[in-house]
Amino acid sequence: MSDFEELDPSIEKAMRHVPPASAATRDAHIAAALAEALPQRRSTVGFMNHRARALGAVAVVLVLLLSGVSVFTGGTTPSNNIATPDTTMPVKAGTSCSQELSSQMSNKDDVKEFTHNGAAFAVIMRDDKVDVYPSTPPCSTLGALEYRDALAARDTETSQSGGTSVCSYTTEPIARFADSASGDSYNLVLVQTDSGLSMHFEDRCDSPIASLDLP
């Protein structure tokens, strides 16, 4: 330390030693903060004081767990993100699905719109998958491109050769983003095809890692 003075080590040690919170308190605090990341709950928790918010968040988590929804699992289930609903969303009159999706996402860039065969669609880049919605209500998921297994498989490859280093597309990709399974992060590209959507590693154009046909 380059201080002008030193603090006695015994004092510093005592300062650092804050008795740990109970597991219940810690979990309640974290659950309440996570509830802030659940966009559909923001409006309700905003009126509570902190302690009530923590209790409310615990209740929310318990309800979700009891109803079979996995919030904090560390397993390999590809879809355990409850940040936004996967099925039908209530949408305000005059609001498009993409607007609604965008309003629920912390990162607006995670929602993209595109047209296919004259119909408008929206995609939302979630953790390990891309969900596809129509652009107009009812906002029910049409399907998903799930690619966690592909990322995990690439993590285990002994050789990390990237195939072709630059891919060209006949149309501009809908989205380029990075994601990972549990190891390395990879650049991914979501492109439109004649039949729908396909997902590729950005440095490997040869075969898609996920695809979805659209009407």
Binding site: F4, E5, I11, R16, P20, A21, I30, A33, L34, D127
Partner: protein
Amino acid sequence: MSHDELLVRRAQRGDQKAIDSLLRENYDVVRAVCHRIIINSADADDATQMALIAIVRALPAFDGRSKFSTWVYRIATNAALDELRRIRRRAIPHDDDTFASLPVADGVGAVDAQLDVSAALAQVPEEFRVVLVLRHIADLEYDEIAVILEIPVGTVRSRLSRGRAQLSALLGNPGGAHERHIPDTGGQS
């Protein structure tokens, strides 16, 4: 990309597991900063809660220009200072139960030491206490503390010096303070 960078990136994309991991990894230090700045246990827990919420809300805006831990300390410090302002507005007298709710750590001696340093810190002026916490709990460098508190580095240095001297004196000067006179350079705060 480091583990932390990857975790932050995933959390910024709304990955609940990543956010949960980030909060758990930083929980103890956030709580320690809040408890040592605020002293009162219940208020410090409120500040801890607000800091965690602020972290989640601000995650999308974290641009990586500072270390994530420094960013977390800044948020925790601001949450603690906000809570102190709220406490002052409430004008509640000193809470005699401040330490009663602290769980026993490891025997009577440890509790006594805990009470001593908590009580002593409570008597150190807030402006000194905050820099003591950021330096000795958060392990931040002077320039990082200066950025967080928006004060000159010289002021950080002088407040640390005075805070250490006061804390040592309140605790019976264990080990003796390596006293030097440090002028309050750049005094504005």
